[in-house]
Every structure is written in C-alpha cells, then in structure tokens.
C-alpha cells in the first residue's frame, strides 16, 4: 500500500472531482433541509440513502472498469458524505429520532462499510472515511455509555480528545512506515493538536480547576512534540509545539505573579523575552533537522 507519484494533470482532475462531489453533497443536504416538510417518506429516503447507495454502486462500477482511475474516488466521497445523512433520515422517518443509540447505530454501519471497502479496494479516500467513521463510532459509543450512567464523568471531552489524538499519532506513524504519506501529515497535525489542546485545557484552569499534575504533563508533551518532530520529520508537531509553548508560558506567568509578588510581571516579561529568543533558535535548528 505505497503511494505512487501522481502527475499534475491527475492531481487537478482529482481536485475537480472532489470539489464536484462536495457540491453534490451540499446540494442534497440543502434540498432535504429546505423541503423536509413537503417531501413524502419515499422521497426523503430515496434522495438521501438512495443517493448514497447509488453513488457507492457507481463508484464500484467505475473501479472495476478502470482501477487506476480517480473517478471512482469522487463517487466514494459522495457516498461517504451522504450515507450518514441517509441513515439518520431513514431512522427518523421510521420513528427513531436522533439520539445516542441511533448515532451509534449509524456510525457503526458507516464504519463497517468503509472499513471493508478499504480492506478490499485500498484507496486513500476510503482510508480517510474509515478513520473518520471509526472516530465518530468511538465518540458515539462513549456518549451512549455515559447516558446510561448515574454519575457525571467530569472532563470526558478532554479524555476523548487525548485518546483520539494519541491514536491519530500512532496511525500516522504506521502509515509513514508503509510510505503511505497522504494522510500522515494531517494525522500528525490533528492528533498533535487534540492531544496538546486537551492536556493544556486540563492544566490551564479555564475549563477545569487548576491542576498542577496536568500542567506538568502538558509541559512534557510540548517538549515531546519538539523532540519527536525530528525523527517523525513533522513540521506540524514543530509548529504545534511552538504555539502551545507560548500559551503554556502565558498560563505560567499568571502563577509567577503569585510567587514573586509585585516583581512578578517585570520578571515574566524578561523571562518571556529570553524564552522567545531561545525558541527562535530552537525552531530553526529543528526545522533544518527535519528538512
């Protein structure tokens, strides 16, 4: 499963295909939204679930006709975008309003369909939808379980984001090893952002109460982001590390004022200035290592 080099013409062809597929998706969504009250049951299901199934079948036919063609990817994209809408609409029409159980069912079905498709057809787009629906399946499963609990689990959003972020980083590295570069960069970027943002929000105190343990962990994660950007050759991790380091220092500065009293702010400004200079040198040094 190695990414083959693609010519400029094929890249442009793919871009047009994907943009066209996105317009088809928005058109179907707006049609349903605007005409929901006047459409009958059959039309609601036919124009959503029917469109998704038709797009999927068209993609299969195009794939078997010409496996090298990107045309099938555009129809797989339409199917991936419209299928969850079609399933929600179908369940809603038959009396199952959107709730935790229907979401879990819809995303389980979408995840299984696209996972099996990816195993068989091995396309980047199918891999993207597999990861996307796996994430939505995970989120909806956790939400469904929590809806059945008697207790309020605090900060579940942050823990979910950290789990998803760590998973994305591991998946990104796995794809990188297999020279499957298309999704590696986005997985590093989104995974790194989720992990750092969730950890920072737990330690910083604007979402959760000030927690020094998480503040220390956030510092370690930021340090790791810089270190790992070199072996992983990821500029995303380098940029994320820099941005979150600035946020981290700003958060710490509020506490330095408590320690140093009225000398706190001048001391913070001086420290911040030297830190920025150091960051600049470090950033250039690591950037050259990545290149």
């Amino acid at each position: 499963m190695v990414d083959k080099p693609v010519s400029m013409e094929r890249k442009l062809f793919r871009i047009f295909n994907y943009v066209g597929a996105a317009f088809v998706f928005f058109g179907i969504s707006y049609f349903i939204y605007d005409n929901w009250e006047v459409l009958n049951t059959f039309t609601k299901i036919f124009s959503t679930l029917g469109a998704a199934v038709a797009a999927y079948v068209a993609a299969l036919l195009m794939y078997f006709y010409n496996k090298e063609s990107s045309s099938s990817s555009a129809f797989f994209m339409i199917a991936g975008l419209v299928l969850p809408i079609g399933l929600f609409v179908t369940l809603n029409v038959y009396g199952y309003a959107p709730n935790f159980l229907t979401s879990l069912s819809v995303f389980t079905i979408c995840f299984l369909i696209f996972l099996i498709s990816q195993i068989y057809f091995k396309r980047n787009l199918l891999l993207f939808f597999s990861i996307l629906f796996a994430t939505l399946f995970f989120v909806s499963f956790i939400s469904y379980l929590i809806s059945k609990s008697s207790f309020n689990y605090m900060y579940m959003t942050q823990y979910e984001l950290m789990g998803i972020g760590l998973t994305y980083l591991l998946l990104g590295r796995y794809l990188d090893i297999y020279s499957h570069y298309t999704l590696t960069g986005p997985l590093y970027l989104i995974g790194g952002f989720f992990l750092l943002a969730a950890s920072f929000s737990l330690g910083a105190g604007f979402v959760a109460p000030d927690d020094n343990a998480w503040r220390v962990i956030t510092g370690l994660l930021i340090f790791l982001a810089f270190i790992l950007s070199i072996p992983l050759k990821s500029k995303s991790l380098l940029y994320l590390g820099s941005i979150f380091l600035v946020c981290y220092v700003i958060d710490l500065s509020a506490h330095l004022e408590n320690v140093f009293g009225h000398l706190g702010w001048p001391f913070v400004l001086i420290l911040f200035g030297f830190l920025l200079m150091l960051m600049g040198y470090g950033f250039i040094f690591i950037y050259k290592k990545i290149r």
């Binding site: 939400s143 379980l145 929590i146 309020n152 605090m154 579940m156 959003t157 591991l170 796995y174």
Partner: protein, 181 residues
C-alpha cells in the same frame, strides 16, 4: 510485527477506553434514594412566576396569611397544586395544604420570611439537591439526548432524572422543601 505494533496500539487505546467506561458505568450504576421526600409545584403558565415566593411562604411559615402585605390580586395563585414526590414509589401525588404542613413537622427550624435566607431548604439532611437539569459531559456530541424539562436528583457527581413532567418547561418547576418520609 514491529510495524504492526503501532496499528495494534492505535486500535487498543480507544478499545480500552470504551471497555473502561463500560465497566465504570455498569459497576457504579446504583440507585440512591434520599432519606426524605420533597414538595413541589408546577406553575401553569409563566405569569404565575410571581406566585412562587408567596406560595412557598404560605406552606412553610404558619404565620403567613392571605392578608400579608404584598399579596397581589393580578394573578390567581390559589389554583396552584402541591405535589409530594415519593422516592419509594418513584412518582408524585397531589396533596392539600394542610397535608403539606403536617408533613413539614419539625424538619427544619424555620425563620420568619424576613430571615428566609437562614433556611437552606434546597439541600436534604443527607446532602441531596433537586435541580431543573441533569448536567453531564457526554464528550464530543452535537445534540442533547435530554429534554429541557428534566428534573434531576443530584448529590456530588451522582445524578438521577426523576419521574416528573413539566409540560411548560422546567423553569415552571418550583421546589418547595424536603419533608419526612
């Protein structure tokens, strides 16, 4: 094997989170019942909001009467029902004013309305509170599975929706006081 280890870890992390959450939910899914029941009323429309304080005073303070200064004649508060929520039955029933006063007994040492703030009647003797919503962090969701009319029994992190229907909105639910069982 080393290359696939990353894939296995990527699958293992969310799987472990789901299993851990499921075990927590199943193992700690207990049904707590307070040692007291409680009285409440449901306003029939938003204009009766003005009745809430007057109604509570009528039940809680024996010296309160209909000629108390501040009684108004604009809105009819006399038709408001008094409900007793019984935790053992898991349901409510309508009771009279005299029955409500007899249930009150010596549950709390009550002060005149001018010192009403000295009475924290919203917390039961064993630490439970009644809220007009059940707050949960469901994680990354884009809709709420809970009606805005949900009345919730709360103690620390424990929450349980009660079998109380507030047809015109939870803001019309007026908690009065905790009473003996």
């Amino acid at each position: 094997m080393k290359k696939n280890l990353l894939l296995y870890l990527a699958i293992l992390i969310p799987t472990l989170m789901i299993i851990t959450t499921a075990i927590n939910v199943i193992y700690f899914n207990i049904n707590k019942i307070p040692a007291q029941n409680f009285l409440y009323t449901i306003l029939q429309n938003s204009s009766q909001q003005i009745c809430a304080t007057e109604f509570k005073s009528k039940i809680l303070f024996p010296e309160y009467n209909d000629n108390h200064p501040g009684t108004h004649t604009i809105v009819d508060c006399s038709t408001l029902p008094i409900y007793l929520y019984d935790f053992n039955m898991g349901s409510s029933k309508t009771i009279s004013l005299s029955q409500a006063k007899s249930l009150l007994g010596h549950t709390h040492k009550l002060y005149p309305p001018t010192k009403r703030e000295a009475n924290d009647l919203t917390v039961s003797t064993d630490g439970y509170k009644i809220k007009t919503y059940c707050q949960k962090d469901f994680g990354l969701v884009w809709f709420a599975d809970q009606s805005a009319d949900e009345i919730c029994l709360v103690k620390d992190h424990y929450q349980k929706p009660l079998n109380i229907s507030a047809p015109n909105g939870a803001y019309n639910f007026i908690f009065i006081t905790w009473v003996k069982q």
